[in-house]
Amino acid sequence: MLQFLLRRLGMVIPTFIGVSLFTFALIYLIPGDPITIMGGERGFGPEQRAELEAMLGLDKPIWQQYFIYLGNVLQGDLGTSYVTRQPVMSEFMSLFPATIELTVCAAIFAVITGLTLGILAAIKRGGLLDHTVMTISLTGYSMPIFWWALLLILLFSVNLGWTPVSGRLDVMYWVDEVTGFMLIDTLLSDEDGAFISALSHLVLPSIVLGTIPMAVIARMTRSSMLEVLGEDYIRTARAKGLSKRRIIVKHALRNALIPVITVMGLQVGLLLSGAILTETIFAWPGIGKWLIESIGRRDYPVVQGGLLLIATIIILVNLLVDLMYGVVNPRVRHSK
């Protein structure tokens, strides 16, 4: 197990260095140098420019600059936003809970509906239900989620008026920020109805963001269940006279879930990148919207830092999924 752990960690480090090289290069590949961009329309005189270059370390050779950058990153210093003059790291940390809240709710929606639909389809194989689930899954998988979001807003917010169009909470409520997670903060506050408001703001974005993972999970669960249901030990269980429910829950599902767990882990990256689209549409104040707006404002330290942080999170989550998979399935540990 230790060897497996070390081997897997050994693969993460070069990937992280590659990603950091990429984000480091970003600032040099953009047209115009950083100081000109910082100066904006007024610009800087030659003396100020030299001073700034020395301050930012831009007068050093490029490889030295990279190591300084890497050192800063490892200490949690990702530079300062050109626009707000705030450290990128603290901006990220203040917005990240909103994104976590959204992605976790989306993941819960995706897992619950995906698993249910997949299991039902596998049990009723070939029936109407099976065909319906497969159609939903295929459509969900091909869905342009930004359009799906607009359709849902059109139906539920504009026509039916059930859910709010955007944001995290109605303006009539004021909730102190304790954890940054609106659902928890509203519960902790004594404002009546704030929790319901926060929840209703979450419903549509979570469904939109969870649609593609839901489709993938439903499909994977169905095929994995079908494979397991054809195994000999299921026939044995049936021959023993166990109830259908017991066979499915105790014998089939447990084995069918192993490949499904891997697929779920792979969805985390998709959820985080899908969050960019979802947050933009629903004006959700998370890191995705922040990143897109920073690109529009040419706020490069934010783009650089945000990309590095998101990529790092995805790398770490993938590592975690791999390790968990190694725990669940011993064969993975020993194969090379």
Partner: protein, 299 residues
Amino acid sequence: MTMTSETQTTVRVPQTPFAEFWSYFIQNRGALIGLCFIVFIVFLAVFADFVAPHHPHEQFRDFILVPPAWAEGGNAQFWLGTDGVGRDILSRLIHGARLSLLIGLVIVSVSLVLGICLGLVAGFFGGFVDVAIMRFADILLSMPALLLAIAIVAILGPSIVNSGLALSLVYLPHYVRLTRASVLTEINKDYVISSRVAGAGALRLMFIVILPNCLAPLIVQATLGFSNAILDMAALGFLGLGAQPPLPEWGSMLATAREFIQSAWWVVTFPGLIILMTVLAFNLMGDGLRDALDPKLKQ
């Protein structure tokens, strides 16, 4: 006697690989529907100038936000209605098909060709070259496609060409990995060794001997890559990072339609519907191709 000889001949005639593939493929109803829709869309794209009732940029100032022809207040001149500046939506969608398919084709071809070359080199030579190429692919794969594309577009600046370039790079590692994996299973087979012994050079071995036997998974991946390319291109267009107005690109049409969501449902509905249907068609066909080409699944 004649009966038996007839049955014998029908049994003995071996199917050509294509006929065998086709007989599997047409059994799959979904794949066939997908193929028909793709043929239809390609037809629209190629003959857009003749099929579209109006020019995609032409603004009919007297007909702003006209509903579809069948709805109340609709106009038979504009089947699917007009947008906020009086352009015919149907014509824009038809010309958008040309744009989306062309971009998809370019993206898939670039990443397929580059990916095959890199994958062949990695699998064939092994050693340091292999490690370097695969590490590069792993780094690209560690970031979600859309995020990486956004990062690249942030550097290069928003435009349809730059986002196409970004997406080609993003899809590259899939083809590299697939090619390398198939090369590794083929390289030690007898037919490769025998042509190596017969004196075939590295290039001949890679492209003429090995590559044709690695094509099946690549064809499937390329078809599915088409649907990804169209979807991600539309997403970039929607975020304002891809095609810029007034180009009739489906995603950017949706982006400009957002402000009319409360007043004009048709401006929002149709561009998304055509994206969904096209992507679905490519996914259906890709699944059908995989089933027909994968010998493991054949009974």
